[in-house]
């Protein structure tokens, strides 16, 4: 919320020039999405093949991003890594935002003890630091892909709930809500047809921010060796397995970091440069 405030205040003097940044950011995101879908068809080498005699090889023709700690092609591994980083994060953010927003709207419309219990409980969940939560849950349920998706979704549901509930509570006091209630509409209709259309735009912006948080947490977990397990490797895991190349400034350790940064910074920039009407919470 601090973020939203800071960006709104920035807007007034940045004017038009920055929408170009938004377009570039959108293109970067689109490119990574395409890579995630098409990765198996566009990688030049199989990700397991050892193609270089040397390890931590430099960038050169044929091995455009150098080779990793075993002499495997880094370009192929980064492209395939996009699949896991983007795929797992997207799945998790869909589940988190869907359940958070539905619960938030329901709590706002129903009120009473359901609202109180849900809010108390989810606020408590929110006061567990996300990385710590991730560590504990991964220790408990392991790091298979479905387990990771669910863990990430559970960690970020309370935030989505809080955001959606705060928006929905405002809408709930409107006259048209009273009218709908007097008409005798049920809760499902109220949240689906009266509340949702009025909060959908800020909720979508929140979706983007939450996606960034999830990418960062997933990368962090994988970097600690507690996320995706070998032979699968997302970007965080790629940094981890090639960390030995850091003293030689090998591309193998820098490129995956840059990939993460390009994705997360693009999403942040896109949200910051969305037209005011879409971004503002009270639009």
């Amino acid at each position: 919320m601090t973020m939203a405030r800071a960006t709104t205040s920035r807007r007034s003097f940045l004017g038009y020039s920055y929408s170009l940044v938004g377009v570039v950011a959108a293109l970067v995101i689109l490119a990574w999405m395409l890579v995630a879908i098409l990765a198996p068809y566009i990688i030049p080498h199989s990700i397991g093949d050892i193609v270089d005699d040397d390890y931590f090889g430099p960038m050169r023709q044929g091995l455009w991003l150098g080779s990793d700690y075993l002499g495997r092609d880094m370009l192929s591994r980064v492209l395939m890594g996009a699949r896991y980083t983007v795929g797992i994060s997207l799945a998790a953010v869909f589940i988190a935002c869907f359940s958070g927003v539905v619960l938030g709207m329901t709590a706002a419309v129903t009120g009473g003890w359901l609202d109180t219990c849900l809010s108390r409980f989810l606020d408590a969940m929110n006061s567990i630091p996300s990385k710590l939560f991730g560590l504990v849950v991964v220790a408990a349920v392991g790091s298979s892909i479905p387990a990771l998706i669910l863990t990430l979704a559970v960690i970020y549901t309370p935030g989505a709930y809080r955001f959606a509930r705060a928006l929905a509570v405002n809408i709930n006091t409107m006259d048209f809500m009273t009218v709908a209630r007097v008409r005798g509409e049920n809760t499902a209709y109220l949240i689906g047809s009266e509340i949702l259309p009025n909060i959908i735009r800020p909720v979508l912006a929140d979706f983007g921010l939450r996606f960034v948080f999830i990418v960062l947490l997933l990368s962090g977990l994988s970097f600690l060796g507690l996320g995706l397990q070998p032979p699968l490797a997302d970007w965080g895991a790629l940094v981890r397995e090639n960390i030995g190349g850091l003293p030689f400034a090998a591309p193998a350790v820098i490129i995956p970091s840059l990939a993460i940064a390009s994705l997360t910074i693009s999403v942040n920039l896109l949200i910051d440069n969305l037209p005011q009407k879409i971004r503002d919470r009270d639009a």
């Binding site: 003097f13 006061s127 220790a139 507690l226 940094v239 970091s257 940064a261």
Partner: protein, 316 residues
Amino acid sequence: MKSGVLNLVMKRLAVAVVTLLIVLFAVFFATSMLPGDTASILLGQAATPEAVAGLREAMHLNDPAILRFVLWLVGLLHGDLGTSYANQMPVAALIGGRLVNTMKLAAITTLLSVPLALTLGITAAMLRGSVYDRTVTVFSIGVISVPEFMVATLAVLLFAVYLKWLPALSSVNEAHSLTDLVRIYAMPVITLTFVISAQMIRMTRAAVIETLSTPYVEMALLKGASRSRMVLRHALPNALGPIVNAVALSLSYLVGGVIIVETIFNYPGIAKLMVDAVATRDLPLIQSCAMIFCLGYLFLITAADIVAIMSNPRLR
């Protein structure tokens, strides 16, 4: 009117206690959901069923979970953190020195990042729209948008690989002189300071800008106060509450940052201990570490909220 504030603060503290209980409960159950039987994991594959059953009995694993939770809680209140599965040492002994190391790291980072971030945040807000402000903003957004390990690897690349000023790894035991000590703490502290400051700069800047847009600051401008007087005399005293709030909230990011930083720099703190415990699935150790982190985090966010309540003149 004073009792109103007291009431709110007490209410906030009560919420913190309830939250702590829920968190403890969550931590306990997340760790007891572990697939596979703890006793058979401990004894290895060659264990006889009788031995496993005996150990289960001895570890009270057959008792209902809720009873074990209460027993664990009672143990905590007596200062008994349990015994590590991995090496049979009392958890309290394992944690002790490590906790001190982590606290040292956190304290040095706080001492460095708070003045730095406040200066940058307030000056950026004062010079809002200038190149300076834009640079600070872009930089802090950049640091927030990338994972902590990337900040750490870039710091290593810059200071250890290219400039060769500092060693990449830290080892607290090898410190013989002050220069050694500085060199050891430098990399972890630099990384953490970057991560924490970025958050703090953003929040401080937002808080000051919000105050600058209030009518009384506009009044100060209209009566001809200079820009610095307007900010320092009129805006800043009122922004103090939000700023302290921002500081406490940003410091809670230490909890996440320290986990990555201790791992990457091999710093012998409690976060490294916990990551290792997760790898070996050492439940009592994970539970205790998680609890300590949650306590610290809860303390900081509760402090932030209480400062916000106390600094609201409408409630005084």
